[in-house]
Each structure stands twice: as C-alpha cells, then as structure tokens.
C-alpha cells in the first residue's frame, strides 16, 4: 500500500515525538520540508555533481546506473513526441502535458527519431561544429540535438519530429487540512496533493525531511536518525 501524504505527516510527527512534547512540525513547515526533501532525493537519484572526479564525471549513485535507480524514478519518467519547426527548434515538453502530475520538464533521458528507435545524440554546443560538418557521420543520416534555455535545437533542421523520454519535476506534495472547531488542523484529502513515489522512496524522502527538521528544531537525535538512514540505509 502506497503511503499517502497523511501517512507521511504522521511518520514525521512521530519521529519528532510530538506526543512527548519534544517537538512539533506545523503543516506549513511539513509541506516545505517534505518538498525540499523530495527535490534533494531526485537530485540524489540523478547524480550529485559534488561526487564527480576529475576526468570521470560520474556520481556514486546516478540515473541510468541500473534498474534499481531507474525504478525509483519511474513515477517521473515520461515519454512524448516533439514537433520540430523548420529551423530545427522544439520547446521542452510543456508541464501541462505531464498528466496527471503537471510537473515541468527537468532532464532528457533518451531521444529517438520518429522512425523506429534510431538515436538522436545529445551534443554540447562546443562539439556541434565538428559533428555538423562530419563527413564520416553525415548529419542528415545521424541527427543530433543541443540543449537551449527553453528547448531543443535539432540538426538536421528539417527533422520534423522526435520522440523523447524525459524526467519531470515531481509535483509538490501538500498536506491539505481544514480547521476544526478548536482551530486544530485536520487532514483533508480533497485539498491535498499526494506523493507519486513508491514506499521505498517515501522513506528516503522522509529521512531527508527529518534531517532538515532536526536542524530547524536543533534536535540532534532526529538529525542523527535521519543521517543514519540516509547514509547507512533503512
């Protein structure tokens, strides 16, 4: 059974020992913390730049490394067709098209031609000159794309269409509530946004949220618990 946002909030409250009067996390603080934690978790799965070595830009954990990492990210992996205009440009897939989550485009996973699954290779701008003018791999038969601020630049320019697999920003989770007669927030699923993650990922995200909350509350036990989970596993 996948955790809903109320389950997640309960776990966080339990960890900070709300009932023992040692700490309390308000719904607003929880919503902020859990979404920061979620972004941190996605960054972790995609690969942290800080772990790169000179001449070996690979993180310890990185997207594409194996099926386990990819499986964790599947809730935010999407696939669609791109329409490429006459100058070879296509905007990033729109957030509105990523139903049901509505998350914005974040990173390309793979790009294929409209005909079968021939690859369209990503090139960086400073390699484009030699690739565009290659006589061994003529650009007409071996298309490429570059990343721009708001979309993709394809070559050859008349490629027409492309097929993309990509990762989106996960939707921000919201623990929605209504106030009861005593002014105490009560969970309301109707105005909540549920997590898209599997249970394993939820635990990772909670650990990251607890670390942030532990810092906020200057609560060393919580921070230590979170660190232990994050670096040594559940």
């Amino acid at each position: 059974m996948a955790y809903n946002i109320n389950d997640v909030y309960k776990i966080v409250l339990y960890a900070v020992s709300k009932n023992l009067q040692q700490g309390y996390v308000s719904p607003e603080d929880f919503n902020n913390s859990i979404n920061i934690a979620q972004k941190g978790y996605v960054a972790y799965l995609l690969g942290n730049f800080q772990q790169y070595q000179p001449g070996r830009p690979v993180a310890r954990i990185e997207f594409g490394q194996n099926a386990v990492v990819r499986q964790r990210l599947t809730p935010i992996i999407y696939e669609t067709w791109l329409s490429v205009d006459g100058s070879g440009y296509s905007p990033y897939p729109s957030a509105a098209s990523q139903l049901p989550s509505g998350g914005a485009y974040m990173q390309t996973d793979a790009m294929w031609s409209a005909y079968g699954y021939e690859r369209i290779r990503e090139v960086q701008q400073h390699y484009f000159y030699s690739i565009y003018n290659s006589v061994i791999d003529p650009i007409g038969s071996w298309p490429v794309y570059m990343l721009r601020n708001d979309g993709f630049q394809f070559a050859p320019f008349g490629i027409g269409q492309a097929r993309i697999s990509y990762i989106i920003e996960p939707p921000d989770m919201v623990w929605g509530y209504t106030l009861d007669v005593n002014g105490i927030p009560v969970y309301n699923a109707a105005n909540s946004v549920q997590p898209v993650w599997d249970d394993v990922s939820i635990m990772e995200i909670i650990a990251r949220a607890l670390r942030l909350i532990g810092v906020n509350l200057q609560y060393n036990d919580v921070a230590a618990y979170a660190n232990q989970i994050q670096f040594q596993g559940q």
């Binding site: 001449g55 790009m111 690859r119 290779r121 960086q124 400073h126 061994i136 791999d137 071996w142």
Partner: protein, 210 residues
C-alpha cells in the same frame, strides 16, 4: 557476416557491453576502420600464403565483383572507369584481378590484361596481343587502352574489397579465419582513441599532447 554485425560486435567489445546512446564511436566510424582492416587482412593473407605455399596470392574470399561500371572517354583510344574504391597495394596488380566488358546482349569479353606503370612505358613497342585489351589502374581509376567505342559496353571489375562499404547490411567479404585480423586492427584504433584525454573544457586552449 554483414558489416553491421561486425560493427556491433566491435562496439560491444570496445564499450564492454551494449552501447549507450551518447557513445562517440559511431557505426560509420567503425565501418571506415573496417575497410582499412580488410586491406590489412588481405595483405596478411598474401604474406601468409607466400610463407606457407611459396606462392604469393590472395584468397578468393577477399574478392568482390562490381558490375555495370560505365567507361567514359578520357583521351583518344583511352577510356576511364571509376572504381568503387582504390585497389589495395598488394603485388603489382593483385588489387584488381579481372576486368571484363559486357555488351547490351549480355556477351562478355575476354578478360583484359593489366599493365604495371613500368610496362606502360614500353607496351606500344611490343607485339599486339590478339583479341585482348590492355588496362592499367591509377588510384580509383582504371584506364583501358582501346580503339573500340567502349561507352557501348559496361565493365565488370573483380577486385580485393570487403564488399559494398556504403551499405552496412552488405556481406563482409573476408574469410572467417581473417576476421580476427580485421577485428584486432579496428580495436587497436578505437582503443587508442578512447585512451586519449578529451578536451572537455571549451576554454580557447587546446590540450597539450604530451
């Protein structure tokens, strides 16, 4: 074995498994090295045969016949045929084994006789060979010495070649016992390429080479 099969085999060896989408060693680059590797294999076969048999020759499996090549007039009594590739430099004329012409009705001529560049300097003073046409090759061209109007014919050339290199689905004309020679040559080139440091920074300065 098709070219694409060998290309995939080599790529998997070089990359230690299936090839990722962003790999920089492309099939067409490997294909180019394969053409060079075929020439190395043919030369190895030539020297192997000389050592083993005492006779220098290249095994039939290395040869490909290219048909329907069109002769064009180059000079008076001299016709030029453009080959699909430059013949290998084995022996004085091992690169091209046979040149024949075919007319509209499908009648095929006797094979033409090759000349070396040395023989080309004195062949006119030699007795004429009845019913035979002489030719010599230069680079990717074959020059045929004939007073006949050869544009009425098409030429067939049998030469040492890995096959149709422009089609990755074509069969690679290399005997199986010499495929490892091709593979070894291509691997050496590709691994050298992978071992070289890459200039990842576009900072206006080239990498030092030592």
């Amino acid at each position: 074995m098709t070219r694409m099969q060998l290309i995939e085999q080599i790529l998997r060896q070089v990359y230690g498994g299936y090839v990722q989408e962003d790999s920089s060693i492309t099939p067409m680059l490997v294909n180019q090295y394969i053409d060079q590797g075929v020439a190395v294999a043919a030369k190895t076969n030539y020297t192997d045969n000389l050592k083993l048999e005492g006779i220098s020759f290249v095994n039939n499996s290395f040869y490909t016949t290219f048909k329907n090549l069109v002769p064009v007039r180059d000079e008076r009594d001299l016709w030029k045929i453009t080959l699909p590739q430059i013949p290998v430099g084995i022996g004085y004329s091992e690169g091209i084994s046979t040149l024949q012409f075919k007319d509209d009705s499908g009648v095929i001529s006797l094979p033409c006789i090759p000349l070396t560049q040395n023989q080309k300097t004195y062949f006119q003073t030699m007795p004429h060979i009845p019913q035979r046409v002489l030719f010599y090759s230069e680079g990717e061209n074959v020059f045929v010495i004939s007073s006949l109007v050869l544009s009425n014919y098409t030429a067939s050339v049998t030469m040492i070649s890995g096959g149709l290199s422009s089609s990755l689905n074509s069969t690679l004309n290399v005997p199986p016992d010499y495929i490892p020679v091709v593979v070894q040559y291509v691997q050496q080139q590709l691994l050298l390429m992978k071992q070289r440091p890459q200039d990842l920074a576009n900072d206006g300065t080239d990498l030092t080479t030592n």
